[in-house]
Amino acid sequence: MGGKRPRSFYFLAAFFTAYVLFLYGPMFAIYILSFQGPDGGLTFPMNGVSLVWFGKVFSGSGIVDIGASFKRSLQLGLVVMLLTVVLSVSAGLAFRRSFRGASFLFYVAIASLIMPSIITSLGIALEFRLLDDFIIKSGATSWTTAMGLFTSGLGAHLTWTLPFGLLIMFAIFNRFDGRLEEAARDLGATPWQTFRHVVLPIILPSVVGIGLFGFTLSWDELARSSQTIGSVNTLPLDLQGLTTTVTKPDIYALGTLTSAVSFLVIFVALVVILVLQARQRRHGSDAGKGMV
């Protein structure tokens, strides 16, 4: 017994399923079309069925080195993720007390969200150009540019992910029970210990969520990167660059592979977690599993 579900559960579960199907809608077209025959295009009809496009992804042939840009995007995404989490949590903590400039920072974050990415991108590019000129003028003749994946590119991505991180922190800290922190301080915890041992563990799942969000935003970011990335492209930029010429279903194969690997990783993780939980079942409890 224990798990009697109310009717609304089934309705909502159906709704959620529908949402997921909707979310995956275009992905289904991608999954199917990635098996196009060698002469197939990006649209229906299917022109035979084959695995050639997967082969293309692995062989790395093509104008741009998708593998390399994939790696770059991954690296950038991970750094962005880390910084987004750290800076957002830190600023989120700051906002729980009031400090001078809180409103300013808040509106700057909002503005950064609003500003069309291409404009921000352009502004950053201009800024770095001025910087380069300045450096060259001050004598470094062999200097090429300060622009790059982890300078201007990183900055541009952060202006995109940080507002999200900060605002989600607001949701996380909303009605966070301050008495827990009081209790910790009372028990002799330093502010850092209070954060490390009380606040962080409680908000951790949400913070991981911010990281994931930050990574996804960076991974998919296009417009802000376009003028700030320097001489090497991120994956989306390369993919977009490819659309200016004959595009083949290998990009679909890339999408299918990404999904497949993600599914696999998540599935394995889930199995591991469930097994671990089953082992701990002895302390388990169905606490709070009320009728509501």
Binding site: G101, M115, G123, G209, L239, T258
Partner: protein, 307 residues
């Protein structure tokens, strides 16, 4: 014993306040720094450039409000019919409102399901990841995939024809306001789900029990307890969706078959024509308009109040 209440021993309350504020300030500083370097400074350049003059080929570093005045060209002369910029903003607002309403509805429901019906944290995480995976395939690719899905000969039309629901393929499925809103909803619903979900899991389950106990129906509980308590999440999600849609041009461009105007699209067209001052002026206008909307929103619900 030291003289107990000698005022010299006391720290001025303002000083104590200062110390606390200083720590908070330090915590916020890294983020402030990133914004200062990569947003405010560029924004400054953009604003300066927006007040520059320009000709067909290049920008001229001399003060001129041409970028602005050109933008509003005909707004007075053409009355009562609307000038381009107003028409465009109206259209953008319409798309924005539609998208907002839909993402809110769907996002709230999904978040509600995840927060209140999915009982274990593990499953919450798994389902959240399930919703994230599509985003790991680049949007460039996903956008292309709408054509085989919604196009004249796409999966949907084929399916409907196959079932016998329609004879002629539905043209409005693609390159229409419908498809724009569809794609926007598709992309941004998750931006609603995340903050709403986060504020929902903070709601003490006993409050919901108490509400049912007071004879409230499910709907009443939703309206009177869950929504008020999830309000900050709702507002944050709304900020995400509204700000992004207001500035969007990629999705509107691709899904609207490049035929639908939006505030972002004007800026893009100007930029691609390398008319930076005009583009910058338009961006400043967009920034102003959207900040107004957002500050109105945060006036209704102060999301920073209950931190």
């Amino acid at each position: 014993m030291a003289s107990p209440s000698s005022p010299s021993l006391r720290l001025a309350p303002s000083m104590k306040q200062h110390r606390k504020t200083f720590v908070a300030w330090l915590q916020a500083a890294p983020m402030m720094l990133v914004f200062a370097l990569f947003f405010l400074l560029p924004l400054l350049f953009v604003t300066v450039v927006s007040a520059w003059d320009y000709n067909e080929y290049e920008m001229i570093p001399a003060f001129s409000l041409r970028g602005y005045s050109d933008t509003f060209e005909g707004c007075i002369a053409e009355l009562p019919s609307l000038c381009t910029i107003l028409k465009t903003y109206l259209n953008t607002l319409k798309l924005c409102l539609l998208t907002w309403a839909l993402t809110l509805l769907i996002g709230f429901t999904v978040a509600y399901f995840l927060a209140f019906h999915v009982r274990s944290k593990t499953w919450q995480i798994v389902l959240t990841l399930l919703c994230t995976i599509p985003f790991w395939t680049s949007n460039v690719i996903r956008m292309i995939a709408w054509i085989p899905l919604l196009g004249r000969n796409g999966l949907v039309n084929r399916g409907l024809e196959g079932v016998g629901l329609i004879r002629q393929p539905l043209e409005w499925l693609l390159f229409s306001e419908f498809s724009v809103v569809l794609a926007l909803v598709h992309l941004f619903t998750f931006f609603m789900v995340v903050p709403i979900f986060n504020s929902m899991i903070r709601i003490d389950k006993r409050l919901i029990e108490a509400s049912y106990d007071a004879g409230a129906t499910g709907w009443q509980t939703l309206l009177n307890v869950i929504i008020p308590l999830a309000k900050p999440g709702i507002v944050i999600g709304s900020i995400f969706v509204i700000t992004i849609v207001m500035g969007d041009f990629v999705t509107i461009g691709v899904m609207g078959g490049q035929q639908i105007a939006s505030a972002g699209k004007i800026i893009e067209a100007r930029l691609n024509a390398l008319q930076f001052p005009a583009a910058a002026a338009n961006a400043v206008i967009l920034l102003g308009v959207t900040i107004l909307i957002i500050s109105a929103l945060t006036r209704v619900v102060d999301i920073r109040k209950e931190l």
